[in-house]
Amino acid sequence: MSILVQNLRRTFGSFQALRGINLEIQSHQLVALLGPSGSGKTTFLRILGGLDFPDPGHGKILIQNEDVTEQPAADRKTGFVFQHYALFNHLTVFENVAFGLNVRPKHIRPNSNSIRDRVVELLQLVQLDGLDQRLPSELSGGQRQRVALARALAIDPRVLLLDEPFGALDAKVRKDLRRWLRSFHKEIGVTTVFVTHDQQEALELADTVVIMNQGQIEQVGPPQEIYDHPATPFVYEFLGDVNKLRKPGRPDLFYVRPHEIQILFASDSSADFSARIEHLFAAGPSARLTLRMPNTRETVDADITRQQLDEMGLSEGDEVGLKLATASPKAPAPAVTPSR
């Protein structure tokens, strides 16, 4: 279901965790809240789930056009999956998943047979069938994560909120689970918002990426658009893999990605800069060069094809010319101070 957030503020003492968040999320979307730690993304997610509340009078949350700003978590019907799962350790997997149904008031509680059917169905959905009598302590991290997901889904949530869903897992499981979650979301179609600080995770998984910094939203858009057209210097730098460059004789900085730099022979007169190859490494079809600019002593990364590397016969220590692939640099960074 759709979510609409208007001018949301949250202050902890003198710290402004959220300073005026406005966001609209369409139904059935998979949305990533991406930002460094301390950017307010988890606070925002908790407020969406009713586990925290905005400063009184500052902000409004609508789920499917219903104002839920003052609604406590128990009435909000949002499925929340915690970073460390928060499973009930004294209950079996079955009882964990059934929890949200068992605590319903008598007149709307399903009978025990339909609860059983629902739990079995959910455990099949998260590929944990047969583990229903295990305790959480007898499961692996990835399995616990999926129990937490099934438990949140049992209440037929209007939206699903995931706090750093893969944060506590090792790299291999993380990758598998990420792929699984993508297809899983397609299958169930519940509007899903997840928090992450991993840009690759956000870009690979989400339909929409919301980039947050210091309690504010920097940019909202589809991953491709965010990557290709970063709106602010922060987004440019946060997405990573970017060079900060200064044109000779000009004070302003601008950003350029490694694949947007052309490598030419040093003698080529069309080069914008000259530089020396400090390090080169070829993996697969592309090669990454680390270049040092002789005049500013800054280093720059550039990606070229393996083929070009071989044809030019480049090796470490060679002098080369650089040319920016795009005629005018995108998103010049007027406000960036070179101190970083």
């Binding site: 789930g49 009713g50 128990a74 929340f80 928060a86 499973l87 009930f88 929890f99 605590v103 302590s137």
Partner: protein, 283 residues
């Protein structure tokens, strides 16, 4: 020679050295401090023979003392379970000025002679005392009545429940409560299904400790009880009385029965403690 080598090579290798030495020390230490004195108690009482033993234990005065001691101790254990839980809950879950002082005050019943506690409680609750004089017109008699004994036994047992519960309460993840809330559970359901079950083993352990302590309590009770035979006389006092009359065999007969009951209790307690630590490890 050959055989000794084959034996030593069959012994499983241990990571921690010194098992033999430390076990030997433990056994001799426990033997000297606990087992030998207590065995002597049993040994002494055998002088009575079975009929003599039975005769001592079957007297009305002894039986009512046992009923009083174990009945009131169980009640005190339960009371401490309820109110100790409340104290631990408040100390762990809320922030308020003076919390640290209050926390330290919980240990006071351990830190002073129980006789002092008994005299202080008697002073307060005697018919002419501060609180006792207010209760007397209502027909409630505390000092020199079973209620007074219960009060003293509850007083000296309080720290057990609070101190066993506190660490478990502190370990509870707040995320679990939030998870319960987001799944639609109200405060009561959250408490009943999520908060309370992990606390239960520690609560039972603490209450059992308080109960065991109350069974053996002497110092504070003798001042507030009034010590009327058959009415407000507890077993430890009865043992003292028999000793003063040089009835050593009778005293040890009572002591033996108390020991037997206490031992069964402590076995049960150990079992519970193991359960607590198991459930905590899994979290």
């Amino acid at each position: 020679m050959h055989s000794s080598i084959s034996i030593s090579s069959k012994r499983p290798r241990r990571v921690l050295p010194g098992f033999g030495l430390s076990l030997g020390f433990t056994l001799s230490y426990l033997g000297l401090i606990v087992l030998i004195p207590l065995t002597l108690v049993f040994f002494k009482s055998t002088g009575l023979g079975f009929t003599g033993f039975w005769k001592v234990l079957s007297s009305d005065r002894v039986q009512s003392a046992f009923r009083l001691t174990f009945g009131l101790s169980a009640l005190a254990g339960l009371l401490n379970g309820v109110f100790g839980f409340l104290v631990a809950w408040v100390l762990v879950r809320y922030q308020f000025p003076g919390r640290k002082l209050l926390d330290a005050a919980v240990d006071l019943p351990f830190a002073m002679p129980t006789a002092v506690a008994g005299i202080a409680l008697t002073g307060l609750y005697a018919p002419n005392g501060w609180i006792g004089s207010k209760l007397a017109p209502l027909g409630i008699k505390v000092a020199f009545a079973p209620l007074g004994i219960l009060l003293a036994l509850t007083f000296i047992g309080l720290p057990f429940v609070v101190r066993t519960l506190q660490p478990v309460l502190e370990d509870l993840e707040s995320a679990q409560e939030e998870a319960a809330a987001s799944l639609g559970a109200n405060r009561w359901e959250t408490f009943r299904r999520v908060i309370f079950p992990p606390l239960l083993p520690a609560l039972v352990t603490g209450s059992t400790l308080a109960f065991a302590r109350a069974v053996g309590e002497y110092g504070s009770v003798v001042f507030i009880a009034g010590n009327k035979p058959g009415k407000t006389e507890i077993v430890p006092l009865l043992i003292m009385t028999k000793l003063e009359q040089f009835d050593y065999a009778g005293a040890t007969a009572l002591a033996s029965l108390m020991l037997a009951i206490s031992f069964v209790l402590l076995l049960f307690l150990n079992f519970l403690q193991r359960k607590t630590s198991l459930s905590r490890r899994s979290s």
